[in-house]
């Protein structure tokens, strides 16, 4: 049980956010691929203190025959939080939240994976949130995308994700846990920028139509920057930058 301090001020007098960032500033982002030995592909992605590991196995024979599809590979995706990843210890049993996020993350990747190339196989994406500080689902999409690429799975584009939020009335990019908890809206977005496709879009909170458009624009600008970083990471195997430098 964490102490419920007063709701903190999230936008300072100078217009900066409580964490010192500008409204359109990403956290420091680190990305690394090939971090695991056994997996066919893997990536470790950090958005600030949010730390996510993704592993890809496959294309391989499905564990369960009846989930195979004759004309394409199935994607199997699990988003899972380590018990120590959250402030209060998380029970290892899958929560309803984890079930939902596994689905939306899978659906954010379905449009780019060239699954028709591997009929009757399974491409398994295992995501482990090691430390959670906001934006875990969007960091997961980024990590899964990199792990798929690292595994050599053909993709039409890399999908990158980021959450925007409304805090103290201001639309800000890449919100962390505090901004999520005390803010007015949290909108995770993932997109394949080269294809101009939005593959994940959720909103938890309330926005006016205008605020929504502003939020979506801000998210896509962040996604483009992260997408550049991902491409660079795949070239260099490792990237640690403030992506927007």
């Amino acid at each position: 049980m964490v102490s419920t301090s007063e709701r903190p001020r999230l936008i300072m007098e100078d217009g900066r956010r409580y964490n010192g960032r500008a409204y359109d500033e990403l956290r420091p982002i680190r990305m690394q691929v090939g971090v695991l030995n056994n997996a066919n592909g893997s990536a470790l992605v950090e958005y600030g203190r949010t730390k996510v590991l993704a592993a890809v196995y496959g294309p391989r024979e499905p564990q369960l025959k009846h989930v195979s599809i004759p004309y394409r590979a199935v994607l199997r995706c699990r988003y899972h939080m380590a018990p120590f990843s959250t402030h209060d210890r998380k029970s290892p049993a899958p929560s309803r939240r984890e079930v939902e996020l596994s689905k939306v993350i899978r659906e954010s990747l379905e449009p780019v994976v060239v699954s028709e190339m591997f009929p009757r196989t399974s491409i398994d994406i295992f995501i482990e949130v090691l430390n959670a500080d906001g934006g875990t689902r969007t960091a997961s999409v980024t990590a899964a995308s990199l792990a798929l690429a690292d595994a050599g799975i053909p993709m039409k584009d890399l999908v990158a994700g980021v959450a925007v939020g409304k805090v103290d009335g201001v639309i800000v990019l890449d919100i962390d846990e505090v901004e999520d908890m005390y803010g007015e809206a949290d909108m995770p977005v993932a997109a394949a920028p080269s294809l101009n496709l939005i593959t994940l879009l959720q909103l938890n909170g309330v926005l006016t139509p205008d605020e929504f458009k502003k939020s979506l624009d801000l998210a896509l600008s962040g996604i483009r920057r992260i997408h550049e970083g991902m491409k660079e990471t795949l070239r260099r195997r490792y990237l640690e930058v403030k992506v927007e430098e």
Binding site: I69, R72, V99, E100, A192, I198, L201, L207
Partner: protein, 283 residues
């Protein structure tokens, strides 16, 4: 573990699928509906006598019951002076040949969470009014969605049922003893639950480059993707969920928002007036 569905809810014969697609390009639907037209729906409130609020909804051939129950419980530690809200959904096996008994699958969980989020942050229910003994005893608002027959667009049918059920929910009468013990007076009520905001969802399907509202099961089986938008009675967006395998362009997303806001406003009025009419006629 989420897996690409290998057996869809429904398989549309290939020829019919092609007809559907080519018609839709011309702005026509198999059912004759306009692209921005909801199916007819009916609402029966008070359908579940043992619930504190309930509604049976038929949206086309999709049938859903929502039941609301208020039970005495304890608040969450971080909100000691608020009641709590729990939304659950079951796709019961009566509803479709592909639904099997068992705990809710990812689709039922997603539906419940989408409905939950549409109500929660906008504070559609004023949970601060649901405190019985501050810090200790509050009302738990259980909203249970029960899908009885599946002909597509379960989310909007559920949202209609939940809105109607909540608009008719009453708060049970209780006696609080000096020691803080609470006794619920079975079958007696203190007043209406009331809603601070009325909220509905509008589900928009994408097929090729066409958007259409309230897809039925045949349409859902061939859609590229769907987007669910929660809309409030003051014209704000109180939730979004892209749901399904495909993707949308930036322009499609903006267009879907416009469409949802327009249809959502209409729908809230239709549901509200149908509900109120019954309330006047009934009980």
């Amino acid at each position: 573990m989420s897996v690409t569905p290998s057996s869809p809810d429904y398989i549309l014969p290939k020829l019919k699928a092609e007809t559907l697609a080519s018609l839709v390009k011309k702005g026509v639907r198999l059912s004759g509906r306009a692209l921005d037209e909801f199916r007819d729906f009916s609402v029966k409130v008070g359908y579940i006598p043992n619930a504190d609020g309930s509604a049976f909804v038929k949206l086309g051939n999709t049938q859903v019951v929502a039941g609301v129950k208020l039970e005495v419980g304890t608040p969450y530690p971080d909100t000691p002076n608020e009641g709590t809200l729990v939304v659950s959904a079951e796709f019961v096996p009566t509803a479709s040949p592909v639904f099997e008994p068992g705990p809710p699958d990812e689709n039922a969980i997603e539906l419940a969470r989408v409905i939950d989020r549409s109500l929660r942050e906008i504070r559609a229910i004023d949970l601060s009014k649901l405190v019985l003994v501050p810090g200790k005893k509050v009302w738990v608002v259980w909203i249970d969605i029960y899908v009885l027959d599946h002909d597509g667009n379960l989310v909007d049918a559920s949202a209609i049922a939940v809105l109607a059920a909540l608009l008719t929910t009453k708060i049970p009468k209780v006696v609080v003893s000096p020691e803080g013990g609470i006794t619920v007076k079975k079958g007696e009520y203190e007043g209406e639950l009331g809603l601070s905001r009325r909220v509905i969802t509008v589900t928009i399907g994408k097929l090729g480059d066409v958007l259409l509202v309230d897809p039925d099961l045949e349409e859902e089986s061939v859609l590229d993707t769907k987007i669910v938008v929660a809309v409030s009675d003051d014209g704000r967006i109180s939730g979004i969920q892209k749901s399904g395998m495909g993707a949308l362009t930036y322009e499609e997303v903006l267009k879907a928002m416009d469409l949802a806001l327009r249809k959502g406003g209409e729908l809230i009025e239709l549901v509200s007036s149908a509900t109120l009419k019954q309330l006047k006629e009934g009980s």
